[in-house]
């Protein structure tokens, strides 16, 4: 399988006044195309920091990050934005939809920032993405007219719409009840089956069981990395 992500001696240090917080300490990690990875660990162990760096939202303090054989840690802000737009779909715990903007318009948004997309094709593509997550009926609803599970599915449709190879999800079920969590995880599973690489952060072993590989973190280091999965 082809290599998608490769981290070497990756560290991230936050400076808060005199105190240095070592959020990541010399992390080495490779992820291949088509993998389904779950990351677990206590609060404050550096999971989100790692996801943000993999997601090109942030740059490491030291170490190297290669994404699709491309050096990311030396990218400009513009190049990072373009990577986020076309290569990565991000799903957040709190859905992060634009309020007072319909589901359809939210899903269209990543395509508006994509120079390769033709304006005329946007509504149709957004509609197709919403139908894929089972929300074809609620395209014109505003986020506050949707349930949490539905909002998260809109966010997943938004992450999918530019057809990126990598989907990142930082505690995507953290704000959902068990049943909707299961629905959302079924969705990730089918995305994985369709060939997407998925990395997700979770607190619950139940959720991690949907993945094929489980990484455990503690104090900014990778504690264990093992195969997982019953489904």
């Amino acid at each position: 399988m082809a290599l998608l992500i490769s981290l070497e001696h990756l560290s991230k240090t936050y400076k808060m006044g005199d105190i240095e917080v070592h959020a990541l300490q010399s992390v080495d990690l490779t992820v291949e195309k088509g993998e389904f990875v779950a990351i677990m660990g206590m609060s404050g162990s550096g999971k989100s920091t790692l996801m943000n760096i993999i997601g090109c939202l942030d740059l490491p303090s030291s170490g190297s990050y290669n994404f699709l054989s491309r050096r990311v840690d030396t990218c400009t802000r513009k190049e990072l934005a373009e990577l986020r737009n076309s290569q990565i779909g991000f799903v957040f715990q709190n859905f992060s939809l634009l309020s007072r903007t319909t589901a359809l318009e939210n899903v269209e948004l990543p395509m508006l920032y994509n120079r390769d997309k033709k304006a005329g094709s946007l509504p149709a593509l957004a509609k197709a993405a919403l139908e894929k997550v089972g929300l074809g009926e609620r395209m014109h609803h505003l986020p506050n007219q949707l349930s949490g599970g539905q909002q998260q599915r809109v966010a997943i449709a938004r992450a999918l719409v530019n057809d990126p190879p990598l989907i990142l999800a930082d505690e995507p079920t953290g704000a959902l009840d068990t049943r909707t969590s299961e629905e959302v995880m079924e969705l990730f599973t089918s995305l994985h089956k369709s060939g997407k690489t998925i990395i997700l952060v979770t607190h619950e072993m139940e959720i991690a069981q949907y993945a094929r590989r489980l990484i455990t973190m503690r104090d900014g280091c990778i504690l264990s990395d093992e195969p997982v999965g019953k489904k």
Binding site: L57, K78, R84, F90, A119
Partner: protein, 404 residues
């Protein structure tokens, strides 16, 4: 992001906060409206002054006595009595001059069988009508012969005809000016009010010699008016007149003129310049309010950027470049200020219309002013939108996402 998309989302977010957007643009609205109103009033006044000067006649050259110096203090233009009828005759010889008339003015009371009327009498020659471009409606203008013979004839203005001879033809009627009996030979065509609101039809024209010889009060002429044949001849004609008068008044090369020459174009230039300075001053003051309006926009845009930090974070997370965010807020600021500009133009048109319709103020709105005001309001938007938009664009995506 495409411009049409940016524009659409800018309008959307402006309409989302209607009241705030309106209050934000109020400064621009007031600024643009006052600039246009000020310029319109200024331009109106300028046109008015020009028309007024034009209505004096065509290509006019005015010769007035010089100022008299008594013990070192000037008594002002016209205080000398240096002009004579002979000067007027001399000026007639200037080739580029087509008409000349001495002018002497006195006020007094007209007495007819029907009543009295306080008015001004001008002692002139028949050529005065050519210079002023006036015409006689009924009867005739008195002749050069009447001037030479100091005939007791007059031509009256329309107002006097209507006041003293209502419903009658005044031509041929007798009348007195003070104690002197006169015969009316003609009535001038109505000219209406001049720009200052003076009635130009409340006037009596009499042969200049009649006024000088028979009225017992005025002994000298106050002014000589001449008309050059074309506009280009004005300068040449006035130079020749100056030369001629210096000779005839026996003024040596070292001495100053004992008369003054003013041309219509001199007066026009001076008056127009004054009006333009006023317009400039007024619009500069109004322009300051546009700047203040711009600062208001910057203020609200900064608030808006802070309020929408999370939105900016989300947009960045899904791939918005710095330039996309910059353009988004910049276009919002420009749309905001341009909307203010458009509303301001609308309001200014209303005010200008009301001033003209209700108070009879002379105004002149031109498209250039409106265009410039709109352009300027857009520029204000760009200028004052740039700082907040830049601030938004430079946000760190993660910090913006985490902002509550």
């Amino acid at each position: 992001m495409r411009f049409s998309q940016l524009f659409k989302s800018a309008v959307k977010s402006i309409l989302r906060n209607r009241v705030r957007s309106f209050l934000t643009t109020l400064g621009i609205i007031i600024g643009v409206a006052s600039v246009i109103v000020m310029v319109s009033i200024g331009k109106g006044a300028q046109n008015d002054i020009q028309n007024q000067i034009k209505s004096m006649g065509t290509n006019i050259i005015m010769i007035m006595p010089g100022s008299q110096n008594t013990r070192g203090s000037s008594m002002g233009a016209g205080s000398r009595q240096s002009l004579t009828l002979k000067d007027a005759e001399l000026i007639q010889q200037v080739e580029t001059v087509i008409a000349v008339s001495p002018v002497t003015r006195m006020s007094g009371q007209l007495v007819s069988g029907n009543g009295n009327w306080q008015t001004s009498m001008y002692g002139v020659t028949p050529e005065y009508l050519i210079i002023r471009e006036w015409s006689v409606e009924t009867g005739e203008m008195f002749t050069q012969k009447d001037v030479q013979g100091s005939s007791k004839v007059i031509v009256i203005g329309k107002t006097i005809a209507e006041e003293l001879f209502p419903g009658q033809d005044p031509v041929g009627k007798s009348i007195r000016f003070g104690k002197v009996p006169l015969k009316i030979v003609g009535v001038l065509a109505a000219k209406g009010q001049n720009a200052m609101g003076q009635d130009q039809d409340d006037i009596v024209l009499a042969p200049v010699k009649t006024v000088l010889n028979r009225m017992n009060r005025v002994r000298h002429i106050q002014q000589i008016m001449a008309s050059a044949s074309t506009m280009n001849d004005i300068t040449k004609a006035s130079e020749e007149i100056e030369c001629m008068l210096r000779n005839s008044h026996g003024i040596t090369a070292d001495d100053d003129n004992d008369f003054q020459i003013r041309t219509q174009s001199d007066i026009m230039t001076r008056a127009t310049e004054t009006a333009r300075t006023m317009t400039l001053l007024l619009s500069a003051i109004a322009g300051v309010s546009l700047l203040v309006g711009g600062i208001g926009i910057m203020n609200i845009m900064l608030v808006s950027v802070t309020e929408r930090t999370r939105e900016i974070g989300i947009r960045m997370a899904i791939g918005a470049r710095e330039s996309d965010i910059l353009m988004q807020f910049l276009i919002e600021a420009v749309v905001l200020s341009s909307m203010g500009g458009i509303i301001g133009v609308g309001i200014s048109m209303g005010i200008v219309w009301a001033m003209t319709a209700l108070f009879g103020l002379k105004t002149s709105v031109d498209l250039l002013t409106i265009g410039l005001a709109l352009l300027f309001s857009a520029v204000v938007g760009i200028f004052f939108g740039f700082y907040p938009a830049g601030k938004a664009a430079r946000l760190n995506p993660i910090e913006a996402l985490r902002y509550e």
